[in-house]
Symmetry: C2
C-alpha cells in the first residue's frame, strides 16, 4: 500500500483537476465582463452580432507542474479557466479562447492559440440558443408558406397547432465546405419521442449571415422530391405537379414512440426486481473529486466541452495513468433523404459535456449510489446546476472475482475458495438530442479498469423512401432507422509507475521444433513475438489492418518481483471500423478515427484530439489528430483509443436503442505490474476446508451473517459430492 | 404473448430435455447389469480388464419427434439413456455406446454408431479413478527410486512425506499418434494451490497395457534435462553428471498459491459489499427444468459429457432456438518443458459436464439465487449428487435497459423515461482440475440472450527454464505461467419462428453519389450489402479471414409488422484465433476450431461437434466437425460458434486467473424479429413529466416505495437544470 504521504499528496492534489465551482465561474465572468475592451454582453441577447462568453471550464495545469504537486508535495499551480468567447460584433467575427486566472480572483486573460496559429472560424462555432430562436422564426415563416402542404400531407402544422404540432431536428455538418453555415432541418411530429416521427419534409437553410433577416432557404425536400424554394414546392403542390404525400391519420392510441408499457409477459414486472443494498454501508470514500476504493485512488472531472475525465489514477499509491478521458463521440449516417445523407454528428460540437442531465435513482444508477451535482457555464450568463448528474457506486456483478473448487477426486475436496466480484462505478450521461450515451468507468479490485460507453435513447430516423432499404430498416409505416457507425475516442495517458514508459505489441508465431523426447516427430507450437514500437508512426494502428494480440505499456525502469517490467495492457471491446475513406472531406475533422490505437508522446499542447468546432467545420479543423503523430519528442506515452460499433437499426430499437449488446469500451489490465493479484488484500475472501470432524470449516474475515435484508443465515458450504 | 396452449405444450415438453433422474440412472444400471452377455462389473473394481459403465446420460429425442410434442401437443417420445460402456475384459477391448430405453423401465439396448462406423478405440477413453490409482502406484515406484533426487532438489517427496508431499498433474493428449496411451506427468508440491508448484520433474509413462505391471517409464525430464529412465537420472545424479536443481527452502509463510488475504487497501473490505435483494420476491418461475422469465421460456439440462444446454427457447411463445449448448472447451499451451509442449487440453475428455461442483452462495451466485442439485453417473456405480451445482437468479446490472432525458433545451424537460436493466442468469461451473470455467446464459428483457464463459481458477504452470520466457511470464521464483489459447465451442440451433431459416451476412460498402442538392459535389456514404449464404461451405467463416459485420438468421416465411423478415443476429464477444495449422496432428480432433462461425443444416446424427474421446485421440477422432459442412440437406440451420482468447499469464494470475476481462461469449440479438422492443411489456418503467403545477409527475406501475432494505423514500426526480 502507498505511504500516507503519497496518499496525502494525491488527495491534496486532486483539487487541481476539480471543475470550476459556481463561484469561480461567476468570478471569471465578472472579470471578463469588466474588461471593457472585450465588449461582452449576455448570450441571452438575441442579437447574433454580439460578443459573449460561450463556454467556461477549468484550464488544466501543465502536467509537469501538476506532477510536482502530486509526487513531491510542491505547491499546486494556480487554478485557471479556459473561456471560449464569440466575437460576433466586429467586422471580422471570430472565436477566441482565453486562459483566465488566477482563481478565485482572476486578473488576467491570455489568448490561447492552436497549432500553426489556425484561427477559429466564426462559422465553426456551436449553435446557441439565440441562433435556434432565429431558426425557429424562419421555420415559422417557411411553414406558414407551406401550411396547406403540411396540413394536408401530415395532419400537423408548425404554428397555431394545439395538439397537432410539428417540431424539428437540425443536421450537421452545416454545409459542404469550410466557412459555410447552412443546415438541413427535418420536420417531425411534436409528440413524445418526436425523433422517430419525421414527416417527409426537409429544408436547407443558409444561416451564415449574422443578420437573420438575410437567411435564405436553399432547398426543400418533400416526399422524395427536391425544390429550389418553398414557393416552388407550394406552387407545384397546388398545381398537382408533384407526388403528394398523405400520412395515415395520426393515431393518439399508437404508443409507438413512447415509454408507456403495453402487452403482457408470463411473469410479473409490477413488483420491484432485484436491487442492490449495502448491508454495512459504503466501502468507498469520496472527498470532493477525490475517490478511494479498494487499492484505487483517483480524481475526476466532467469538462463541459467533452465530459468525464479521470486523473492521477493510482493503485496502492503507484500511478497507473495520469489521465483517462473522453474526447469525442461521433455517429456518421447513411440514407436517402438529404438530411440522412448529410448527418455526420460530431458530438463535442453539441456540448456533449454539458448535457449530463439528472440521473434517476434505481434506473440510471442504483438507489444506493452517491449522486453528485455538476455545474456548467455554457451559452449562459450564470452557472447552471445539473442535479445528480454524476453517480458513484459500488456494485456486485453477481459473479466471483475468482473461485476454485479443489477436488480430491473422490467425493470430497481439499479446499474451496472464492471472492465475490465487486466493482466501483463512476457514471455520467450525455443526452445529445436523441441519443443518450452512458459513460462508465469500472474499477475492479484486481487492478483492472474498464471504460465502457452504452448507447440508449432514440435513434436518429428519417422519412422512409423505397431506396431507404439499403440504409437500414423500416421501423414504422413511414420511418427509416438509418444505419450509422458510432465511434468514441478516449485519451489514455498511461503513466505506468511514472512518465517514462515503453510500448510493445505481442503476437504469436508458430514454430516447428524437433520433439526433444521423440526426435522423429515435430512439435508445432506458438511462440510469443514482441515488437517494440519506438516511433509514433510505428505505434499508430489503422482500422482494416490486423491488430496485435496484446498491446503492452510498461515501465522500462521498474520490474515486479519476478523481474518483468511493470506493465499494463489495453484490451479492446469494440466492433469499430472507419467511417469514410482517408482524407475525404469530413474525414479530415476526425483523423483520430483512422486508428483503433495510436500511441503518441505527451505534449501539453496536444491536450485533446478534437474541439467543439469540428462539428461545424470538419473540413478544416483547428485540431487534427494526425498532426500528433509526426514526431517523437519524449517517452511520456499517451494511448488514444477508438472504440465503436456499426448500428443498423431494427424494430427493437423502438422506442429506444437498448443497452444490452450496445456497449463498447476497453479494459486496462495489469500485466506483471503487481507481484500477485492485488485483490488479495480483500477481506471478503471465503475459504472452506473439510474440518477434522469432516464438517466444513469456513475461514472468513467478514461478519458471518450479512443482515436480515439479504440473509439471516450464516454462509454454509457442504463441499462433498456423494453417491446417493 | 403466446397462447396458453403454446405455454402448456412448452411446459409439458420440457421434461423431454430433463436430465436422467437418479431413479432412472439406477434403473438403466440395473437393466444393463442384468444383461449377462455384457459382463458388466463395478468400476470400483481396480482391474482395468473389466467391462463397466463409464457414463450415462439422457439420450435426446430426435428433433422432429420432440417438435411434434412441443408444437402440436402430441405424445412425447419415450425417454432413453445414452450409456458409454468400456469393454476392457475382451481380446479386442473397445468402447461401445448404447441407447437404452424406454425409461423408467428399460428393456432394450441398441448400439449407437458414429459416422462411417468408426470404432471408438479403447485407448481414446477418458481416465478412470481405477487407472489413476495405478498411476499413483507407478509414481510411487518411480519416486522411490528417485527419492534422493527429489528430496535434495525440492525438499519434498512422494511417499512417507507428512507435510512435505508431492502430488502430480497429468498432461494430455497421451502420446503422439492414435492408439497410444502414454502420459507426461508433472510433480508438484502438494500444498494449497499445487497447480502452481511444479518442481522441475516430469516423467513419461506408457500405460497403454491393461496390465499395470507392464507399464513403463519412457522418459524423465529433470531440471531441463532428458533421461531415458529413472535409473539413468539417478545414476547421473549420483555421479554428478547433470545439472542439479536446488529449490529454495520451502517457506510455509509464503502465501503465494493460497487464497489467504494479505496486505492492506485504503478502504474497508472486512464488511460486506453490496448485495442483491429481491424486495418483493422472485419475478421468475421454475418448474423442474422449465424456466419462465419476462417473455422467455426454456428448458435446461446439464449433460455429463459437456455441460449446460438450453432447449426450446421461446419469447412470448415464439421459438427462437431449439438448442443452445456448450460443446467443448480447449486450452492449447506452449512452453519449454515436455509437459508444457504436450499440453493440449480438450476438456470434454475430462468429464467437463460432471465437474460442476457446489456453488457458494454470495460468491459463485448471489445469496438470493435458486440453487439446484445435479446428478451424474460417471465412473461410478451409483448416481452422484452435486449439491447446488446450478443456480438461477435475476439480477440488476446497475444500468438502465433504456433511458432518455427529453430536454426542452431551456432548463426543463418534456419527459424523462427509464427502465432498469434486469436479467435472468442460469449458471453452472466446470472445474477441470486447475481451471474453473463459469458458464452463463443471460436472458435480457428485450429479447437478447447472452452466452458467456468466464475463466478463473489456477493457471496451468510449468517449471521455469530460461527459454520459458518466450512462452509466458515468470510468476514465481521457479514457475512459468505458460501461454495458451482458450477456445469454447457452442451449438446454436436457431429456429427463428420455426425450422425453415435462411442465413445472410451484412457488410458495408462505400458508394459515391452525385449530391442531389449540390450536383458539383460528391457524397460518400456506406451502403448495406447483403449476401445470402446458401451452402454450408459458403457459410463457414475461417479464423484469420475478415468476419462479416453482421451475421443474420431469419425466417424467409415470416415478417414483422414492417415487412422485414423476422430474424436474429449473433454478435461476438471474443478474441479468438486458431491454435494450430489446419490439418496438423492434434488439430484434426478440433476441426470446429477453424471457424468462429459455421452454419450447417441440422441433422440428428450431428448432435455434437466433439466427443469425450477426442482428448485421448485427437489424431483420429470419431467425430470430426469438418464432416458436417460437406452437404446442404435441408433448411434447418444450426450455427456453431467458437469464442475464446489468448491467455499470456502474468503475475496477476496468482493465485488465480480473475474473471474481469476474462469473459468471452456471444449475444443473440433480435433483428426485426419483434415489431418493437418486447421489454415494453415491463411494468417497471418509470416516466416523469413536468406537471401542470411545475412539479414532476411520476408515472409508474410498481409500488412507490421499494421497501426498507433498499429505500424508504419514494422515487423522486427533479428534471430541471437551472441557473444558480
Ligand atoms: Ca507527437
Ligand atoms: Ca504517459
Ligand atoms: Ca451437413
Ligand atoms: Ca435451426
Ligand atoms: Cu446508434
Ligand atoms: Cu487461461
Amino acid at each position: 500500500a502507498g505511504t500516507s504521504r503519497q496518499r496525502e499528496w494525491a488527495h491534496h492534489g486532486s483539487s487541481m483537476f476539480a471543475d470550476l465551482t459556481p463561484k469561480e465561474m461567476m468570478a471569471v465572468r465578472d472579470y471578463l465582463w469588466s474588461c471593457k475592451e472585450l465588449g461582452l454582453s449576455s448570450p441571452r441577447n438575441k442579437d447574433l452580432k454580439k460578443n459573449n462568453i460561450l463556454l467556461m471550464e477549468l484550464y488544466l495545469p501543465r502536467k509537469h507542474e501538476a506532477l510536482r504537486a502530486l509526487d513531491r508535495g510542491h505547491a499546486k499551480p494556480p487554478r485557471q479557466a479556459r473561456v471560449v468567447v464569440q466575437f460576433g460584433n466586429q467586422a471580422q467575427p471570430n472565436i477566441t479562447e482565453y486562459v483566465v486566472g488566477p482563481l478565485p480572483f482572476p486578473n488576467s486573460h491570455q489568448i490561447m492559440v492552436f497549432k500553426g496559429n489556425r484561427p477559429i472560424k466564426f462559422e465553426s462555432r456551436p449553435m446557441s440558443l439565440a441562433e435556434y430562436e432565429h431558426i425557429q422564426n424562419i421555420l415559422e415563416k417557411i411553414t406558414q408558406k407551406a401550411h396547406k402542404v403540411l396540413l394536408e400531407s401530415t395532419g400537423f402544422t408548425f404554428r397555431n397547432c394545439t395538439d397537432r404540432c410539428l417540431t424539428f431536428s437540425d443536421i450537421a455538418p452545416r454545409g459542404l465546405a469550410s466557412g459555410e453555415r447552412r443546415t438541413w432541418i427535418m420536420l417531425q411530429k411534436f409528440v413524445e419521442g418526436y425523433f422517430i416521427h419525421p414527416v417527409g419534409f426537409e429544408v436547407l437553410i443558409n444561416h451564415r449571415d449574422l443578420d437573420p433577416e438575410k437567411w435564405t432557404v436553399e432547398k426543400v425536400w418533400y416526399n422524395g422530391q427536391y425544390f429550389d424554394s418553398v414557393e416552388e414546392l407550394v406552387d407545384r403542390y397546388d398545381k398537382d405537379e408533384l407526388i403528394k404525400l398523405k400520412l395515415p391519420e395520426h393515431d393518439e392510441q399508437d404508443l409507438f414512440s413512447t415509454y408507456i408499457p403495453r402487452g403482457h409477459s408470463n411473469t410479473p414486472t409490477n413488483i420491484h426486481g432485484p436491487k442492490l443494498v449495502e448491508p454495512q454501508g459504503h466501502r468507498y470514500r469520496i472527498d470532493g473529486n477525490f475517490v478511494e476504493y479498494s487499492g484505487w485512488s483517483f480524481a475526476y472531472r466532467v469538462r463541459s466541452s467533452a465530459g468525464l475525465q479521470i486523473f492521477d489514477l493510482r493503485f496502492n499509491g503507484e500511478r497507473i495513468a495520469y489521465e483517462i478521458s473522453l474526447q469525442e463521440a461521433i455517429a456518421f449516417y447513411s440514407g436517402h433523404t438529404p438530411a440522412a445523407m448529410q448527418t455526420k454528428y460530431i458530438d463535442a460540437g453539441w456540448a456533449m459535456g454539458t448535457v449530463d442531465f439528472e440521473l434517476a435513482p434505481g434506473i440510471d444508477c442504483p438507489e444506493i449510489a452517491t449522486y453528485v451535482d455538476l455545474y456548467h457555464y455554457y451559452d449562459t450568463d450564470k452557472p447552471v446546476r445539473y442535479k445528480n448528474a454524476l453517480c458513484i457506486f459500488e456494485m456486485t456483478t453477481g459473479m466471483p472475482l475468482r473461485r476454485h473448487f479443489n477436488s480430491n477426486f473422490n467425493g470430497s475436496y481439499n479446499f474451496y475458495g472464492g471472492l465475490e466480484n465487486h466493482v466501483l462505478v463512476i457514471r455520467t450521461t450525455s443526452t445529445v438530442y436523441n441519443y443518450d450515451y452512458i459513460w462508465d468507468f469500472y474499477f475492479y479490485q484486481n487492478g483492472v479498469v474498464e471504460s465502457r460507453v452504452s448507447a440508449t435513447g432514440y435513434i436518429h430516423a428519417t422519412f422512409f423512401t423505397p431506396e431507404g432499404i439499403h440504409y437500414g430498416s423500416k421501423v414504422y409505416s413511414y420511418v427509416l432507422g438509418n444505419l450509422h457507425t458510432h465511434l468514441i475516442h478516449y485519451k489514455v495517458d498511461l503513466d505506468i509507475g511514472g512518465r517514462e514508459n515503453s510500448f510493445e505489441t505481442m503476437n504469436l508465431k508458430y514454430e516447428n521444433l524437433t520433439n526433444p523426447w521423440s526426435p522423429s516427430h515435430i512439435i508445432q507450437q506458438s511462440r510469443l513475438v514482441r515488437t517494440q514500437h519506438t516511433t509514433e508512426r510505428n505505434a499508430a494502428f489503422r482500422f482494416g489492418k490486423k491488430f496485435p494480440r496484446y498491446v503492452h505499456f510498461y515501465n522500462p525502469n521498474q520490474t515486479n518481483k519476478w523481474g518483468h517490467n511493470k506493465g499494463y495492457r489495453i484490451q479492446f471491446n469494440s466492433h469499430a471500423n472507419s467511417v469514410l475513406p482517408r482524407g475525404w472531406m469530413e474525414e479530415k475533422g476526425i483523423t483520430w478515427s483512422r486508428y483503433p490505437l495510436a500511441v503518441t508522446r505527451h505534449k501539453d499542447s496536444e491536450a485533446t484530439s478534437t474541439t467543439i468546432y469540428t462539428q461545424n467545420d470538419p473540413w478544416e479543423p483547428v485540431v487534427s489528430f494526425e498532426d500528433f503523430i509526426r514526431n517523437n519528442e519524449n517517452i511520456d506515452l499517451v494511448a488514444w483509443v477508438t472504440v465503436g460499433f456499426l448500428h443498423v437499426p431494427h424494430s427493437e430499437d423502438i422506442p429506444n436503442t437498448a443497452t444490452p449488446g450496445n456497449a463498447v469500451g476497453f479494459f486496462l489490465r495489469p500485466f506483471n505490474f503487481f507481484d500477485e493479484d492485488p485483490s488479495l488484500t480483500s477481506r471478503s475472501t471465503v475459504i472452506v476446508r473439510p474440518g477434522e470432524d469432516g464438517k466444513p470449516k469456513v475461514q472468513r474475515w467478514t461478519p458471518e451473517v450479512i443482515g436480515h435484508c439479504v440473509s439471516d443465515k450464516p454462509f454454509f458450504y457442504n463441499g462433498t459430492y456423494s453417491s446417493i
